[in-house]
């Protein structure tokens, strides 16, 4: 008996050492303005493990650029107004309410009173002003800074009282409240010192002690093991409660394992070592669905994503670059009829079937059916027609020689290469299908897989490429994040980077439309402007749009409240609501 008791004690001690008791949710204090999620229920306890493709680079929300860092940081930090991933609408978060002035230029936000950072320190307007100062600081050069500097002027942030902050924009800005989503409110008491001393960028690196890092997210840093995992535990002061007024999150702990690749994520998931996988390819999704009965997992096909994959031609200004060969081919690429012919010859149905395993959608424009609020339904979806493509080429002066090779007006054979990232098997496959499609037009196309960085370098810096297959979008449903693609001076204006003035009339009109929609506050008017922009893009084909994959995710059966979304972060956006199902309890009707 004694022995058993001692053994049990040992076991308890051992498990205790592995999962030191998670912090107990703090009882609600009087005057604490908590957000109540009336729909949400679950129960406390347990931990979830998530496989990540890489190791995060930092825990600093201002300097993080990579997806993994942002996914982890997003669980640690809170924002003022957030976009509800399931409704795609904005919702009060740390700001319990906000008012917009009639001219659309002033936002007055009421903060929740009495809420605390994960280290127990109270949160107020000082932290908000501090956070915005950091985000807009030129010396820190945050990737979010571009969004907060409008017409070259920063947003003016003023503290009206301890719980009221006013944001004054230099000009009206459509859907400005969406800007607040993802901007982490940082603790002034912890970060002011490094900021003043000029080493903010080094603050909150992965080596930071758990006590140094505090946020307003559902979790707080627990432990980082280099090369293996990062564990975050419950924030006992989190400001959301469920239906029964229990303070969220339900989970004691969330563990991010660094596994390397999507395939490794899937293997770990199959082995039961991880609980959630997101951003699955259709092949891996089908693989998991074949094993559904064995794994007992939940599979979610959320329909078309907001991402668009496209074929891009190099229309950059190559003067002063020693790229005569590419420059010679630009005469074809600049010809609208040439691009239209390519678009007509592309077999998008095959892309959907062969690349996405029928879990995807063909695209003819930059906005896909996943974006219900903004899609222009009048963009035509012409069927693939090699005949139309040949007619277009013929009318543009192209001809064919005896062996069926396409010749341009000067008699040169049309031959070009498509670069694509070798790590993205879906885009590689698109390129191979395209190669075959275009061979029916007599074009000789070479597929060149490149390492991702090498490809990015060619597209953004050296311009040493003919054509490329890439993907963009997926961040938000709103048109504003698309500004950097369609405005002529945008940083992702990929087909012609660094333009000083629009290269053509349609580009000028597109730029004007995009600028205009940004300052139009009325949805219907904005939609009209954006519809026209989509029409211009589809007519002039700066990109030949190909398709978009569905958002596919899976979770083990024990994960409760699993509701993936089509906007990033696809599965962990409601990490505070996730809980471990307990079949015994659920059968008894207790939650």
């Amino acid at each position: 008996m004694k022995l058993i008791a001692r053994l049990t004690l040992h076991v308890c001690l051992l498990t205790g050492a592995c999962f030191a008791a998670a912090p107990v949710p703090d009882a609600a204090k009087p005057g604490e303005e908590l957000a109540r999620l009336a729909e949400v229920s679950g129960h406390y306890g347990g931990h979830l493990t998530i496989g990540e493709r890489a190791e995060p680079k930092t825990l600093n929300p201002v300097t993080a650029t990579d997806a993994v860092s942002r996914e982890v940081i997003g669980r640690l930090m809170g924002d003022l107004i957030e976009i509800n991933r399931s409704t795609q609408q904005t919702e009060p978060a740390l700001a319990k309410s906000w008012k917009i002035s009639p001219d659309g230029r002033t936002f007055t936000l009421q903060l929740r009173k009495g809420i605390r950072f994960s280290d127990g320190h109270p949160f107020d307007a000082d932290d908000v002003v501090f956070s915005f100062n950091v985000y807009m600081d030129e010396a820190i050069d945050s990737p979010q800074r571009d969004l907060l500097i409008i017409d070259g002027k920063p947003i003016l942030v003023t503290e009206l009282d301890q719980y009221t902050v006013r944001f004054a924009l230099p000009r009206p800005y459509a859907a400005a409240e969406r800007l607040f989503d993802g901007l982490a409110m940082m603790p002034k008491h912890l970060l002011e010192k490094p900021y003043r001393e000029g080493h903010f960028i080094q603050a909150w690196s992965l080596n930071a002690q758990a006590a140094e890092v505090a946020g307003l997210g559902p979790f707080r840093l627990k432990q980082y093991v280099p090369g293996q995992r990062i564990a975050v535990e419950r924030n006992p002061y989190y400001w959301k409660v469920d239906r029964e007024n229990q303070r969220l999150p339900y989970l004691d702990e969330l563990v991010f394992l660094f596994v390397g690749t999507e395939d490794a994520q899937v293997m770990r998931f199959e082995a039961g070592e991880t609980d959630i996988v997101s951003r699955l390819s259709s092949e891996n999704y089908n693989l998991l669905s074949r094993e559904k009965s064995r794994l007992g997992s939940q599979l979610a096909d959320m329909g078309p994503s907001l991402e668009y994959n496209f074929l891009l031609f190099n229309l950059n200004d190559l003067n002063g670059k020693k790229l005569d060969e590419v420059a010679g081919k630009q005469a074809w690429f600049r010809d609208l009829k040439f691009r239209q012919a390519i678009s007509a010859a592309v077999d998008r149905d095959s892309i959907v079937r062969l690349v996405y395993g029928a879990r995807g959608t063909a695209l003819w424009g930059n906005v896909g059916p996943g974006n219900k609020l903004w899609i222009n339904p009048n963009i035509p979806h012409p069927q693939r027609s090699v005949e139309t493509a040949r007619q277009l080429l013929k009318s543009a002066g192209y001809s064919w020689n005896q062996s069926g090779q396409l010749l341009d007006t000067a008699g040169r054979p049309v031959e070009f290469s498509i670069i694509t990232s070798s790590s993205n098997s879906q885009r590689m496959k698109m390129a191979t299908l395209l190669q075959d499609d275009l061979s029916h037009l007599g074009m000789q196309v070479h597929v060149v897989p490149l390492e991702f960085r090498a490809m990015i370098d060619r597209v953004f810096q050296s311009f040493d490429y003919d054509a490329a297959i890439m993907g963009l979008g997926g961040g938000d449903a709103d048109p504003n994040p698309e500004m950097n693609v369609w405005a002529f001076a945008g940083t992702s204006h990929l087909w012609h980077l660094g333009e000083t003035k629009p290269a053509s009339d349609w580009e000028r009109e597109l730029d004007q439309l995009m600028q205009q929609q940004m300052v139009t506050l009325d949805y219907t008017k904005r939609k009209q402007l954006y519809d026209r922009a989509q029409q211009l893009i589809a007519d002039n084909l700066p990109f030949v749009f190909l398709g978009t994959p569905n958002i596919l995710a899976s979770a083990s059966a024990r994960v409760g409240n699993f509701h993936p979304a089509v906007i990033d972060p696809y599965t962990l956006w409601n990490a505070d609501e996730l809980y471990i199902r307990d079949p015994a309890r659920e059968n008894a009707g207790v939650r």
Partner: protein, 342 residues
């Protein structure tokens, strides 16, 4: 000749004949996509149906079925039997690189298809691709071996025969080559080349790089052999009678190393085929849509493909068969010629 030797020689000759006349043995063009049949499993060859046994084999076409809500499963369309025909007309190809013809060893009536090894993700016939891919992979192995042995034996003979500082400096160079991390070296070389190289240029680049990196080992072996035999009595005698260096090399030393070179060749060919497969697997070899065993295997880098479509391992099986045949050949040379080898 012993029966084992006869079997081995026949198998090797057969293998090379099939690869050489890939167009004739392959029922389809290796680059033609059939987008209705991605990842179709190998066609089953039937002899029996409801009416009994048939001497002439027949196949059923695959029709794609929805398995639950999931596309990509196939079942046999048993409504129509497609008897296997021999010497049929099909897509045109060049036999031995010269005669354009359309006759294939076997096939079935279109639109039915006989897919011995199934199809890949683009619906291309894997069997035809294995044959055409083998042309490139095996030719690369043989060419690279030739380059390596030619270079290796020239330098080995010179080093072994002349000795002293020539020997030391040449052997120093071989050591350098042996210690080269060649995969990284090649990855580096590829970065300096133009984006697209034609298949022919890639092929020659590949073979010459493999061959030139591989010359060091045979060079050291040849040098050792020459070193030991140059002071043999018959060599000294020939020199005493006034034989020139060239005469001695040709008449006495070259025959001495010939056995070694043959054994080495049989050992190196499969090794260099594997080298080509490795390089193409990492995307450094010939590009899509031209098949080679390496770039065909590279789709198996995806976990889902590896576990779902076993028939795509066919090029690996072909590689194993080829390697086993060549190493048996090396064994045979080794025991027959009683010569040195690795």
């Amino acid at each position: 000749m012993r029966p084992k030797t006869v079997i081995l020689i026949t198998c090797l000759a057969g293998l090379h004949l099939i690869l050489l006349c890939a167009g004739f043995f392959a029922p389809y063009d290796p680059t033609t996509q059939d987008r209705e049949l991605p990842y179709a499993p190998p066609t089953r060859i039937h002899f029996k149906d409801d009416s009994g046994f048939h001497v002439r084999p027949f196949v059923y076409a695959w029709t794609s079925v929805l398995d639950g809500d999931q596309a990509g499963s196939y079942k046999e369309d048993t409504s129509r039997e497609l008897p296997l025909d021999f010497f049929v007309r099909g897509p045109s190809y060049k036999l031995l690189g010269a005669y354009i013809t359309t006759v294939h060893l076997f096939g079935v009536d279109a639109p039915g298809k006989v897919l011995l090894f199934g199809t890949d993700g683009y619906g291309r016939d894997e069997f035809s691709r294995v044959l055409f891919g083998g042309q490139i992979s095996v030719a690369a192995g043989i060419t690279a071996t030739f380059i390596a042995l030619l270079t290796g034996s020239i330098f080995g003979i010179i080093a072994g025969y002349y000795g002293r500082w020539i020997d030391e400096s040449l052997m120093g160079v071989t050591e350098l080559f042996l210690s080269l991390p060649w995969l990284y070296f090649l990855l580096g070389v590829r970065a300096f080349l133009p984006l697209h190289l034609s298949t022919l240029r890639t092929f020659f680049l590949l073979t010459s790089v493999i061959g030139l990196i591989g010359w060091a080992r045979p060079a050291r072996l040849v040098r050792g052999l020459v070193l030991s035999s140059r002071n043999r009595n018959y060599v000294l005698a020939a020199r005493g009678f006034g034989g020139s260096d060239f005469y001695i090399l040709r008449r006495h030393l070259l025959p001495e190393v010939l056995g070694l070179l043959l054994t080495q060749a049989a050992l190196l060919v499969p090794r260099y085929i594997a080298a080509e497969v490795t390089l193409s697997f990492f995307g450094l070899g010939v590009n899509e849509p031209v098949p080679s065993w390496g770039n065909m295997l590279s789709t198996l880098q995806q976990y889902s493909v590896l576990v779902s479509y076993g028939w795509l391992l066919a090029p690996a099986c072909a590689l194993v068969v080829t390697s086993v045949l060549y190493s048996s050949l090396a064994d045979m040379f080794h025991s027959r010629l009683k010569s040195y080898s690795t």
